[in-house]
């Protein structure tokens, strides 16, 4: 039987605002299938975002949804999760949202290891505001604020996540939607902070400026630039230049924040009782 996406979508809010050829829909569909696989009730799920094209997701999905300020989604999600540790809080962000303005919150969310799932839709550009350079724009690539090519070196979001302490990190591409679904599902199952980076496509804002304006061509580009982790082990740094490594990059058991805080409560109450 075909998957019933409409059950999870707010069909009265359609049509959505994403452009033809955009990768966000593929990620949202993977997320919905993974939620379905978990068997979670819609009432028990919150989807939180910042600002950007990706961050418009909450409006269209039928959960408890929270569209916050640019870069700050993880901070709102932190409050939500600490208030209700028994519920499922998912954050969805663009690359600018997560790694530029939200970069500091991202680092600290990784470090705290709260049981949240962060899905980053990385399209190497600021989609919503008109194609300005983002922290993941490849070196030399064109953007509306990098008309002669980007001078900044891009940030590897997944590597930063691992370094900062995220306990589950996986990277996939929108050319492989079912692999994304698997990563998101494993992220949901993981107890701790999970980061799923989805390498995506923005033909209008990124493709058009970088000789990749055809959505299929851009999709192919994304797929070809992804190197599975196993294969990457055998490749030299030169060969990996400009590529990104895909797969489950990190999976570690680590103390989860809300569980640890429950122990803090017990210690505090014992100390108060002893006085």
């Amino acid at each position: 039987m075909a998957f019933n996406y409409e059950y999870y979508l707010r069909m009265d809010k359609m049509p959505h605002m994403w452009c033809p050829g955009c990768g966000i829909g593929i990620v949202v569909k993977a997320m919905l299938r993974a939620i379905d696989k978990m068997g979670w009730s819609k009432d028990d799920v919150a989807v939180v975002s910042g600002i950007g094209c990706t961050s418009r997701t909450p409006g269209y999905v039928d959960f408890n949804t929270l569209h916050t300020t640019h870069g700050r989604a993880l901070t709102f999600a932190t409050g939500l999760k600490l208030a209700r540790p028994d519920k499922h809080v998912i954050v969805i962000s663009g690359d600018g949202d997560a790694a530029a303005i939200g970069g500091n919150h991202f680092l600290h969310a990784c470090r705290r290891n709260i049981d949240l799932t962060l899905i980053v839709v990385n399209n190497y550009i600021y989609g919503m505001t008109g194609g300005q350079a983002s922290p993941t724009t490849p070196f030399g690539a064109r953007a509306s604020t990098a008309p002669y090519g980007a001078v900044d070196s891009p940030l590897d979001i997944s590597r930063v996540a691992i370094a900062a302490g995220a306990s589950y990190v996986a990277r996939g591409t929108v050319a492989q939607g079912f692999m994304l679904e698997k990563f998101i599902y494993n992220g949901f199952k993981h107890k701790g902070f999970a980061v799923i980076e989805a390498m995506s496509t923005c033909p209008i804002q990124y493709g058009r400026r970088n000789k990749l304006s055809d959505p299929v061509q851009l999709l192919k580009w994304v797929k070809e630039h992804g190197v599975p982790a196993k294969k990457a082990e055998k490749m030299s740094p030169e060969e990996l230049e400009g590529k990104f490594i895909t797969g489950e990059l990190h999976n570690q058991e680590r103390v989860e924040y809300t569980e640890e805080y429950e122990l803090v409560r017990q210690r505090a109450q014992e100390a108060a009782g002893a006085r």
Binding site: D43, G59, T75, L80, A83, K87, H105
Partner: protein
């Protein structure tokens, strides 16, 4: 029953009052002179089953308390100066999305890092207009221990009742001063209205039954959207001019049509006053002593002390202007509250400031001198 008078520091009393008002979530970032609130919360909240978290900055703290409040948990943060500036972004979110939260700002000298360990009253206008865009907000500025306690409880009650962020303004003097105080038990606690309709009939911004629509906590079967964009009654973004006009007017009206409930002030020896003082917070206390000093010398001075600073009790100040020829406004800045007083007085009395910004309070004799210079 024996009295339980304890020595309280202003900052600790805010924290204790918040817990008694039902606050169970605190997110903060250390900053002088407000850090004692975070420390108290870190110690006490887990004892009562609540949650304390130290965030990476004030932007994050503000986001976290909004998130927790949306889950139905009364939440607050505390900060000062530079931190209050960082709160403003998400404070605006709490305004437009109408999420109850409480923010304590213990004022220190500014701008920028300014005077971290000394008092000021320089955030009068920032408390009202700190975040961008049209918005309506409540700010409470207590002056005495009992007002700090009851003002904090009141801040939570007003936040819950009107779905609005409420700011408590202390200054370094009040935050760090220790005084004897007995915690009362004769206070009311108000919780936000919950929907009385089934989920399919619920809209988080539905104005058909009043200006403050009930707010369903997340995860209770009412699945809806919350956004910082202008929105329709379902919480979904809109650019419809009529809907936005109507929603913004409602957000203003929900406070300004309820001033009788929201406004709180004190009048001291105003009945026969011939010269008026308008002052708040710690400088309200200084001014009250100055009134007594003036009266000892046969000068009929009186004090109007707003405790709700925003919305400003403008009718009261208008009445004062009908009664006296001169109004003095002592404040620890170079003229902020005075702008609002002048607006209300509208030329009907002579309004003059008594100002100090070096980090020292304006002492009662200084205010007395200012009074004597005008008669």
């Amino acid at each position: 029953m024996d009295k339980k008078i304890q020595l309280w520091e202003g900052n600790h009393l805010v924290a204790e009052a918040a817990i008694r008002a039902g606050c169970r979530f605190f997110a903060g970032y250390p900053i002088t002179p407000s850090s004692e609130v975070a420390e108290y919360m870190a110690w006490k909240l887990p004892q009562v089953g609540g949650t304390f978290i130290q965030m990476e900055d004030e932007i994050a703290s503000m986001g976290a308390i909004i998130g927790a409040s949306l889950a139905g948990v009364k939440s607050m943060t505390a900060t000062s100066g530079p931190g209050f500036s960082l709160k403003q972004e998400n404070l605006g979110f709490a305004c437009i999305a109408e999420i109850p939260v409480v923010i304590l700002n213990v004022m220190r000298g500014g701008p920028s890092t300014g005077l971290p360990t000394h008092p000021s009253q320089m955030d009068v206008m920032q408390a009202r207009w700190g975040t961008h865009g049209d918005h309506w907000i409540i700010a409470i500025a207590p002056a005495y221990m009992d007002e700090i306690f009851r003002g904090t409880v009141r801040a939570f009650n007003l936040a819950e009742k009107y779905r609005v962020p409420v700011i408590i303004l202390l200054d370094e003097i009040l935050g760090h001063m220790h005084e004897g105080y007995e915690i009362p038990d004769d206070f009311e606690i108000i919780d936000r209205a919950k929907p009385d309709v089934p989920p399919e009939e619920y809209f988080p911004y539905d104005d058909s039954k009043g200006d403050v629509p009930p707010l369903a906590p997340f995860f209770t079967g009412y699945r809806y959207n919350v956004t910082g964009l202008n929105h329709d009654k379902s919480g979904f973004p809109t650019t419809n001019p009529e809907l936005i006009q109507r929603d913004m007017e409602r957000q203003r009206r929900k406070l300004y049509a309820n001033l009788d409930d929201i406004l709180w002030y004190d009048e001291y020896k105003l009945d026969d006053a011939e010269i008026g003082l308008v002052a708040f917070g710690s400088m309200g206390r200084s001014a009250q002593v100055a009134v007594d000093l003036a009266r000892e010398q046969g000068i009929k001075a009186g004090l109007f002390r707003p405790i709700t600073l925003w919305p400003f009790p403008e009718e009261k100040v208008q009445q004062l202007a009908e009664q006296v020829d001169t109004i003095l406004v002592p404040e620890m800045n170079l003229g902020q509250l005075i702008l609002e007083v002048e607006r209300c007085v509208h030329g009907k009395a002579n309004v003059e400031g008594v100002n100090k910004v070096g980090g020292l309070p304006i002492e009662p004799p200084e205010i007395l001198e200012a009074i004597k210079a005008r008669i």
